[in-house]
């Protein structure tokens, strides 16, 4: 059995980090999460997940620039590592494989992971 090693929330955060690119820091990711999923989340929760993902080696981070709204404080920008990308792909493929075995949905295109 293949283990995805990624929780649903973790997977989304990882994807959002990829989507946001240069702008991927805790607050922005949380904001993006809320607007994409219509679910509310605290920055703390996102930050906690980001830290965990970094510990697992899916993400790396470095301090970025500061802006006026932040009272001159820098932000921590997260980027996906190669290992992170590989895991994401593996997760997607694993689920796709599962979907393909599902008789009723075998050919339909669905977005998975979220609903």
């Amino acid at each position: 059995m293949i283990e995805t090693r990624l929780g649903e929330f973790e997977e989304v955060i990882l994807l959002l980090t990829g989507i946001l690119g240069e702008e991927a820091y805790a607050f922005k990711i949380a904001e993006e999460f809320e607007s994409q999923t219509k679910r509310s989340v605290s920055i703390g929760a996102v930050h906690s997940t980001l830290t965990r993902l970094e510990e697992k080696g899916f993400l790396k981070s470095e301090m970025g620039k500061s802006t006026a709204e932040r009272g001159g404080r820098r932000k921590r920008i997260y980027t996906i590592t190669a290992y992170g990308k590989k895991t994401l792909t593996a997760a997607k493929e694993f689920k796709q494989a599962l979907w393909d075995q599902f008789p009723g949905f075998a050919t339909s295109k669905v977005s998975f992971g979220l609903s």
């Binding site: 949380a30 605290s42 906690s48 500061s66 709204e69 921590r76």
Partner: protein, 875 residues
């Protein structure tokens, strides 16, 4: 950023205080950015609220600081603390024993005091309505008599108060009938504390009823309730007793209920209760009785009643029910809450229903003493630990070098002192188990350490108190020892420790308290022996008192003649009331030149030779004589106070009589007796009139027995009694035993103070012993050098003692004025008291000094005699 666009300050502060340092910048940045974004789309209030929400959401394991202190206090470390503490305690056995024992004695004393105080405070607390029950008391102020507070009231007052005051929910009255002879078939028993009570009794008090109906058992005339043990005197079982009758005073009473025996901690003690309705029928209805005060009334008030406002309305209440224009200058009513009756009635007289009455202000003194003892014990601990600090420098140094945090060292020392306190508590409880029985004998109590374990909260409080004692006493030494800086510690420190201002101050406090308590003990003992020895104006020793009934009164002359034949009987007389409390007061008239004076003295009905048998001395005139026919009911002997109050030119021969005598048929004052203290010495001698009135009947026979022949005397009186008075059992007591009871509260206080003073000097001396050992040890080298240079043994002894003597001296100077003022205030509660002799203070100070010097002499002499070579080799 303007103030309006700043995030909430408190939240920011909170965030900073718990957030990991390396996260602060990015997180604060994120939250600020969010806040600013929110401000554009939402209200400021909402943005702030959201900021708080975000802040609190950062309380996650990954984000918060690692609290090193918490992680350091792991089991392993505690285990190490325990090991090191145990080693230290065992290594310095003498100091540890001193520490543990002084704390243990202190704790044991506090536990005893707590048990004593809580025993007193438990009085009457078992009644569920106790906070709404009040006793009606009076302040009486009549001409020619001392103003007095009394626990009596008029029978009409209760019912009228219920009618007139919406605050009064109900009333219950007690009419104390004292000891009564009751019969059932062949069984005759003297039943003590017989009371007549209203049927509302059970609406007030929660005395449990075993048989019978709480609601109706006192509703009918001629019904009686017995306590369990009273019922068992007449019947085989309580079941059998219910609804049977019992015979008393010419009538049968039906037993409608059996009560559990009255608990010890009730100020109302009774063996039988009779229904008041027996007396509220027909012409003699007591509900309409005003003028005479012979009942005790309790009121059940509505919750939240304003006592002050009620008391303000009492004068109007009195004048609306009694015609007397003088009524409000003679009487003032006041209310006393149930929990005050036991502890705050010491200035109340004619207080006959008040078992084991105790002076509540003594409880405060006990608490203060307990505090003193603890302070003295705690001082020992602090002094010895800091004085001994040099022994532990190496340990502290090594610990610091290998990276112990200050807080860890601190924790270790606190742990050690808490551990000692814990051991001390165990020893304290053992001491209490050993000594409480002895103490009970001494003060006449049934205290038990077991009481402490009945209540989880009490036990928790004791443990908590011990814990905090350990922590508090540990704080200063720990702080002191951890404050050394490392280089000094490793160099071995310096030896300047012998002089510590704080340590000296603590010794001064300790000895100050001890001296204060010694002096107080001496004064208290003096006052009590003054009361015991002082000439109260009559002879209370060797006086046997025997309860009399009608038959005994009828045969009084025969009994007297029979008794006088016995060689060990020195005198026989009788009286209507017993000495040792206030005597009943009623109106008295004296026909002076200016007209008839109305006065209310105390009165007592006595036998002809009463004054002679009791050894009371006449000041003027003559005593009663049987030869003079008019002496029966028409002759009065008044006391000196009364004579002074009258201020007549010629007292003897003045016409006088009781209130109800007709002005034309008054009697004569035939003599003035020297003042004698018929009441307790707390009170001034009241005005008193004695009369011989055999027809009223006497209550008690007084038999004076030759010293050392008590047993013979009692047997002789019993023999005569049983022959002549078959209708009433021989029931006796001794007058001095009654006086013991009068001064019980004072005596128990004095016993406690004496014991505690002894303990406080003991603990202080134990401490001094230890302290001397340490400081002298530190001076070993100095002593050696001095001896080599030719100092004599006595010079060295003086040198070593001087310091301690000085501290005791300072303590004496500081504490004396305080003790003087306190004792003066206590003495003022006695109308007859000793003058404080300043020599007592000197004696107390010298005693403390001598004991102190003796205690340290063990060390001073030893080191003064020691071989200087040994001393110089030391270290």
């Amino acid at each position: 950023m303007s103030a309006n666009t700043k995030p909430p300050g408190l939240a920011t502060w909170l965030l900073k205080s718990f957030l990991r340092d390396d996260l602060v910048e990015e997180v604060q940045g994120d939250l600020d950015e969010k806040f600013q974004t929110d401000l554009k789309t939402k209200s400021r209030y909402k943005a702030k609220w959201d900021y708080w929400y975000q802040t609190l959401n950062y309380l996650r394991p990954f984000a918060i600081k690692k609290f090193k202190r918490l992680s350091a206090m792991n089991n392993q470390l505690l285990g190490n603390y325990f090991k090191i503490s145990t080693r230290n305690i065992l290594k310095h056995k003498m100091i540890s024993v001193i520490n543990v024992f002084s704390l243990a004695i202190g704790l044991a004393a506090c536990v005893v005091i707590y048990l004593f105080v809580s025993d007193e405070q438990s009085f009457d607390s078992f009644h569920s309505k106790s906070s709404h029950i009040y006793r009606l008391d009076e302040v009486q102020k009549f001409t020619g008599t001392n103003e007095q507070k009394v626990a009596l009231s008029m029978p009409g007052m209760g019912p009228a108060l219920k009618r007139d005051f919406p605050e009064v929910n109900n009333y219950v009255r007690f009419w104390l009938r004292g000891k009564q002879l009751m019969t059932k078939d062949e069984t005759k028993q003297l039943i003590d504390n017989v009371m007549v009570v209203d049927s509302t009794f059970f609406d007030f008090f929660d005395f449990p009823l075993i048989h019978g109906d709480v609601n109706t058992c006192l509703d009918r005339p001629l019904t009686i309730l017995l306590t369990e043990s009273t019922a068992l005197k007449f019947f085989k079982s309580t079941d059998e007793a219910l609804n049977k009758t019992i015979f008393w005073d010419g009538r049968d009473y039906q037993i409608t209920g059996i009560l559990k025996d009255v608990p010890e901690n009730s100020h109302i003690q009774f063996e039988a209760l009779m229904s008041m309705v027996t007396y509220t029928k027909g012409e003699d209805n007591v509900n309409n009785s005003w003028g005479g005060n012979w009942m005790t009334t309790y009121l059940l008030l509505e919750p939240n009643s304003n006592i002050k406002r009620m008391e303000e309305k009492f004068p109007k209440f009195l004048s609306s029910h009694m015609d007397d224009p003088q009524i409000n200058s003679n009487y003032k009513l006041f209310l006393q809450r149930l929990d005050q009756v036991h502890l705050a009635s010491n200035d109340i007289e004619h207080d006959y229903i008040n078992y084991r009455k105790f002076n509540g202000s003594y409880l405060m003194i006990f608490y203060v003493i307990a505090g003193f003892i603890l302070v003295i014990a705690a001082v020992n601990f602090m002094n010895l630990t800091t004085a001994r600090a040099s022994h532990r420098w190496k340990e502290i140094g090594v610990r610091k070098t290998i990276g112990a945090k200050k807080l860890q060292l601190f924790g270790q020392f606190i742990f050690e002192s808490v551990m000692l306190a814990g051991i001390a508590l165990t020893v304290a409880l053992l001491l209490d188990i050993l000594f409480i029985p002895i103490l009970n004998d001494l003060i006449g109590r049934q205290l038990s350490i077991v009481q402490l374990f009945h209540n989880v909260w009490q036990l928790a409080a004791v443990l908590l108190a011990t814990l905090s004692l350990g922590i508090i006493t540990g704080i200063y030494p720990s702080f002191y020892m951890t404050s050394f800086n490392l280089s000094r510690v490793l160099k071995g420190g310096n030896k300047s420790e012998g002089k510590s201002v704080l340590r000296s101050t603590l010794v001064v406090i300790q000895f100050g308290l001890a001296i204060g308590m010694i002096v107080s003990t001496l004064i208290v003992i003096q006052q009590l022996s003054f009361m015991k020895e002082s000439d109260i104006g009559f002879d209370k020793d060797q006086m046997l008192l025997v309860n009399m009934n009608n038959e005994a009164n009828e045969k009084f002359e025969t009994i007297k003649k029979e008794l006088q034949k016995q060689s060990m009987i020195k005198g026989v007389t009788a009286s209507g009331q017993r000495l040792g409390n206030n005597l009943h007061q009623w109106g008295f008239k004296v026909k002076a030149d200016t007209g008839v004076l109305s006065i209310t003295p105390s009165n007592v009905n006595v036998d002809y030779d009463y004054l002679t048998v009791y050894g009371m001395e006449m000041k003027e005139g003559r005593g009663f004589s049987k030869d003079n026919l008019n002496d029966n009911g028409r002759a009065f002997v008044i006391n000196e106070s009364f004579a002074n109050e009258l201020k007549l030119k010629e007292t003897i021969g003045t016409r006088a009589g009781h209130d109800w005598y007709h002005n034309d048929s008054l009697g004569t004052i035939i003599g003035v007796v020297k003042d004698f203290n018929f009441n307790s010495l707390h009170y001034k001698v009241n005005t008193l009139a004695l009369v011989v009135h055999p027809e009223w009947g006497y209550n008690e026979l007084s038999v004076k027995i030759e010293k050392g022949r008590n047993a013979e005397g009692i047997a002789a009186v019993k023999k005569v009694w049983d022959e002549l008075v078959p209708s009433y059992p021989f029931d006796y007591t001794f007058l001095d035993a009654h006086f013991e009871e009068v001064y019980r509260s004072d005596k128990q206080m004095s016993a406690v103070v004496t014991i505690m003073a002894g303990l406080s000097i003991l603990i202080s001396c134990i401490g001094l012993f230890g302290l001397a050992a340490i400081t002298i040890e530190q001076k070993t080298k100095e002593i050696g050098v001095r001896k080599v240079l030719g100092a004599t043994e006595s010079q060295i002894t003086v040198l070593l003692s001087r310091n301690f003597a000085g501290l005791i001296g300072i303590a004496f100077v500081i504490v004396s004025p305080v003790a003087y003022l306190t004792l003066q205030r206590w003495l003022e509660t006695f109308a007859y008291r000793i003058e404080i002799n300043l020599l007592v203070f000197v004696a107390g100070g010298v005693l403390a000094l001598v004991i102190g010097m003796l205690v340290i002499s063990y060390h001073t002499l030893r080191s003064a005699r020691a071989n200087p070579v040994k001393a110089l080799r030391y270290e």
